[in-house]
Amino acid sequence: MYPLISPLGDRAVRMTFGDRLTEKANDSVQAAYSRLDHAELEYISEMVPGYVTLTVYYDPLKAPAYNKMLHQLKNAAKAGQPLESDFSQKRHLILPVYYGGNKGPDLEEVARWNSLETEEVIKRHTGATYRVYMMGFAPGFPYLGELDETLATPRRKTPRKKVPSGSVGIAGPQTGVYSVDSPGGWQIIGHTPVRLFDAGKEEPVLIKAGDLISFKSVNEQEYEDIFHECEKGIYRPSIE
């Protein structure tokens, strides 16, 4: 049955590899990405992996007839050897976070929704290791998986007009970090002083799809210290 394929306007199609967030579905997305990348179809302009989807942007003037193209993409996504994902090789980054207060205005809402103390929310949020499923939404923004299901909280009904970069949030079963100032509907529970995106750097994006991420709770003083080290460009997040 999978992949399903359907249009996203007249210059992109979405290939779907599952209807639930699973590592297996995301593995299929990564495998299809690498197969299509190797197929070197000249009409593909870029590809964006999602949790369970791979969106393929194409140039309609270079592509064959639409139905033929769909057929070709489906075949290319399935053909050849997938690249095995090797989790023992993954990079594991630890991001320091100040939870609650005005840095995490929705911490109490997340606690209330899940009938937990705020300390327990912090404990469970820092207790997990998160897989980077995809990047998107804003430059350098990682979508992380496997949020403790007892922390899942729906997005805010009306998105905020501005969420500051470094904000750590929860949306449904997902958690993540805002990499730039942006409007958004995530429940904000804390803030990391570490910059995930810096266009001036040789490698502008800190986190890549495939990394592992953990959060560490820091107090106000530690937060301030790390903040100033980041400003000077001398802070490096610890990597395990």
Partner: protein, 320 residues
Amino acid sequence: MIPLIKIEEPGLHTTIQDTGRYGMQQYGVVPSGPMDPFAFRIANLLAGNAPDDAAIEITMVGPSVRFLENCVIAITGANLSPTLDGRKVPVWGSLYVKKGQELQFGKPKHGVRAYLAIAGGIHTQKVLQSRATYTKAELGGLKGQPLETGDELPGLTLPDTELSKRKGKLLSEKLRPYYQSHHMVRVIPDEQESYFTKEALQTFYTHSFKVTPQSDRMGYRLQGQKIGHKQEAEILSEAVAFGSIQVPADGAPIILMADRQTTGGYPKIGTIITHDLWKVAQLMPGHTLSFQRSSVEEGHLWHEYETNLLKKLSVSIQQK
């Protein structure tokens, strides 16, 4: 490279754009580029430039611009009553300007976004391979921000013989888009329309929606009858496109524009065909939109038509 123009007054939201920053959406970097790609390309064509050269996007209230060298400029898109040293100049045409002259804009007559191209293009530093300004992440343009008073934009000085070849081009009246206060745009339905009730889909394709003041280069928030979801109003986040229409839980559609987020978590009712994007880009708050069901095939036909038109124009502009 020398400074060609100086910004005396910045206007409301004046940015440098090229055709966009492509290939980095998988890292969350949106292409940006012009809101009205058609008017942008015509501006470059009329100035004798390559279609992907950088030019200036002007929003509603135009800037005052001083020319530091003799050059040729072209203005397209919205009619914001441009004048050169107080004398009216044409929109959809190119003209010769002398060192020291000042270009100003007045009352917006039709449309919202105008484009100002300078012969030879604008040569600010590329960031991640593009000059397009993306203010949210402070990329491109000058310091990633809209232009400010005192900013000087570098470009090429072209010999007078070259400039005289490029001046005085005019786009024929019948090819100029007509900017109205209501536009119908064509939408390719998304498979996620299954998230919406039958009544909601009926409403979406039969009613008008108003552009709210919360509309900018990132997206247009619409106001109108509520577009209701069957149950879930969230999806697993995935990539979106220029013109995708997503509907959050409050039932008010959002059209994603040039500075959109690369991915989104709200169900999409559909995506506007590429050829109709200019219609949205030229609407101002209070104006209205309605939607008509279309297809991928129709989108492709119109995209091909537009591409061929631009090719023909390019040839005829160079020959004249």
